[in-house]
């Protein structure tokens, strides 16, 4: 593959070339790269809010008993923390930022298939977020159900559940439209020579994710409407007194929300799959295995939702089936882990920040994945159910996995997005704080969870004090790491980035940094293999 330089006649996408300038140009843009940045800024803002909420919970838990807010506030805060982190950050997260920014470039396209729909999805996202924010202040108090909105509590509590549920409903539409957009883009807009098996693996992951977005999200939509119907009209979907079934709610909720975990983690795996060959300077090991394991995760992932309900009173026949399927879905994830490690084997590994995040991802995701099997096994699940073991597992997957992949991707494509470099040393220090803080924060929760510390409790027995304090200190280290990282990335002093600072082989590194508004003025060269290192 040859390095091509493009004539300077094409200004970067960050320069306003149209009639509108400044903020107006950004808010009316249909450029996939600008929309990616709109999402990036929004997600950063929400992430800072969600992280502050998390830090207040850790502070409250520093000692047993009440420190500075009471149980009802604690319930409202973990609900809002969950709503923000899940619906506003990790579900859209990597798809809308990196899926939007690099996926079209990687397949040699000039934009997504429906650019206006893409912008409309962002507006829906902001609208949904606004409704969630309003739910905190309007009506009868912030919701206290947890992000899961479990019936029958969610249909009975006097807090403002309807607004929060409507916000999540609107966010679902945004997700579906993005999914449709990306499926059509990958089928229709690949540059002529880019066959499916010449595509890099991030587009493969985005493709599998998009299918889950389109097929699973409508189910959460209808479920949330059913909560509203139950609250307003007392229809009797979930309330046994009205002839309903509370477990039906859990079925419907998890039919979406388990696949939603793969909406979060699949693009994260895609990002890791891009980072590892670049910083090992080696061909990816098992290209087809990784591509097909994305599809397999998406496919099998639909059929494992019952593992969230082992102790809720489901039939034992169903429980066995769901446990078996849960163990099966671990196989394609493990395939990816083996492929990443094998790619690194005998490579010339360069420990730049993106690679540090990618290696942290493999480590933390593996811990998260294996502890997931503890819950997938029927007997052990009864012990750990509803304890902080679940909280630890979940954060190892979602923060240690999705979050670290997001930060890795951000450090990887940052020079491409903004045309500037960040300070590598500072980025490494921030990573050190994040990695240490993360493990101090969540690992003790595995231990006290096994010892019986329930989750979502604002108070605890004195024997858990030391572990809770280690956890809180870890939380503060994590916060310091985030501040260092954000300051390092977004102060405006970095030197100009070269077109290909890391020696990557995929198409985005052939473009200037930052890329021109129309990505490719001539169809790009497509090599036979996207990771052509040796």
């Amino acid at each position: 593959m040859t390095e091509e330089s493009y004539p300077i006649a094409h200004p970067s996408y960050l320069v306003d070339t149209g009639k509108r300038k400044g903020i107006k140009a950004w808010l009316t843009t249909c450029d996939h790269k600008r929309i990616a940045l709109l999402y990036l800024w929004s997600i950063m803002v929400f992430f800072i809010i969600g992280a502050i909420l998390g830090e207040t919970m850790r502070t409250e838990l520093f000692r047993p008993g009440q420190q500075f807010y009471g149980p009802q506030t604690y319930n409202a805060i973990f609900t809002l923390h969950g709503l923000i982190m899940i619906f506003l950050i990790v579900i859209p997260g990597l798809t809308v930022v990196f899926g939007n920014f690099v996926m079209p470039i990687m397949i040699g396209a000039n934009d997504v298939a429906f650019p206006r729909l893409n912008l409309f999805s962002w507006y829906l996202y902001i609208l949904g977020a606004a409704v969630v924010v309003v739910s905190q202040f309007a009506g009868s108090g912030p919701p206290d159900t947890g992000w899961t909105f479990y019936a029958p509590y969610s249909t009975q509590t006097h807090t403002n559940v309807i607004a929060a549920v409507s916000g999540a409903f609107i966010l679902g539409f945004s997700s579906i439209l993005t999914g449709i957009n990306f499926i059509v883009t990958i089928h229709r807009l690949r540059t002529p020579k880019m066959t499916f098996f010449k595509m890099p693996l991030l587009p493969w992951a985005v493709y599998a994710t998009a299918w889950i977005q389109v097929l699973a999200t409508p189910i959460i939509g209808i479920t949330l409407l059913m909560i509203i119907g139950e609250r307003v009209f007392r229809i009797g979907f979930f309330d046994p007194a009205l002839g309903g079934d509370p477990i039906l709610y859990q079925h419907l909720f998890w039919i979406y929300s388990h696949p939603a975990v793969y909406i979060m983690i699949l693009p994260a795996m895609g990002v890791i799959t891009e980072i590892i060959p670049t910083f090992s300077q080696r061909r990816i090991f098992g290209y087809k295995a990784i591509a097909f394991s994305s599809l397999a995760i998406a496919g099998v992932g639909y059929f494992v939702w019952g593992h969230h309900m082992f102790t809720s009173g489901m039939s034992k026949e169903a429980i066995w089936v769901f446990s078996l399927l849960t163990f099966l879905v671990a196989v394609p994830s493990a395939i990816k882990v083996f492929n990443w490690v094998t790619t690194m084997y005998k490579g010339s590994i360069d420990l730049k920040p993106p690679m540090l995040y990618a290696m942290a991802f493999i480590f933390l995701f593996t811990i998260g994945g294996l502890t997931g099997l503890v819950q997938g096994a029927l007997a052990t699940d009864i012990q750990v159910h509803d304890t902080s073991f679940i909280v630890a597992h979940f954060h190892y997957i979602i923060f240690g996995g999705v979050g670290f992949a997001f930060l890795g991707g951000l450090h990887y494509w940052y020079p491409k997005m903004f045309g500037r470099l960040y300070n590598i040393r500072t980025a490494n220090i921030a990573w050190g704080f994040l990695f240490t803080g993360f493990n101090l924060l969540y690992f003790p929760q595995f231990v006290i969870g096994l010892e019986g510390m329930p989750r979502r409790y604002f108070d605890y027995l004195p024997q858990f004090t030391l572990s809770q304090q280690i956890s809180t200190v870890g939380g503060y280290l994590l916060g310091i790491g985030l501040i260092i990282m954000i300051v390092n990335l977004f102060r405006k002093s970095g030197e100009k980035a070269p077109d290909n600072p890391w020696g990557g082989k995929t198409l985005e590194w052939q473009l200037p940094s930052p890329p021109p508004e129309e990505n490719f003025s001539t169809p790009p060269n497509v090599s036979d293999f996207p990771y052509d290192y040796d």
Binding site: G299, Y302, S315, E317
Partner: protein, 94 residues
């Protein structure tokens, strides 16, 4: 990629499809008054699925679309069916 082909569907075909759909709707409305107990739900579901199938085939052009799109729709129906079956693995044995 693939060459664009033009398909012209006659008005009479659309009209016939419309009539079939309306007849099926009429049956859906009258069936519950026959007091067929549990079969009422079965009839309603079968008719609804038939109607959805007809709409997909003719109005949404699946009949003349390429194989890829047909595979996609079949895949979606397969996932949907499996989800229903798995859910009933709970309800039937509970």
């Amino acid at each position: 990629m693939t060459t664009e082909e033009k398909h012209i569907t006659s008005y009479s075909l659309y009209a016939r499809v419309l009539i079939i759909l309306m007849v099926l709707t009429a049956i859906t409305i009258t069936a519950p008054s026959l007091n067929l107990t549990a079969f009422t739900i079965l009839i309603a579901l079968v008719i609804a699925s038939t109607k959805a199938g007809i709409v997909l085939t003719y109005f949404m052009h699946l009949k003349i679309e390429n194989t890829l799109l047909r595979i996609m729709v079949i895949m979606v129906l397969g996932i949907y069916g499996s989800v229903i079956i798995l859910t009933f693995a709970d309800y039937i044995y509970r």
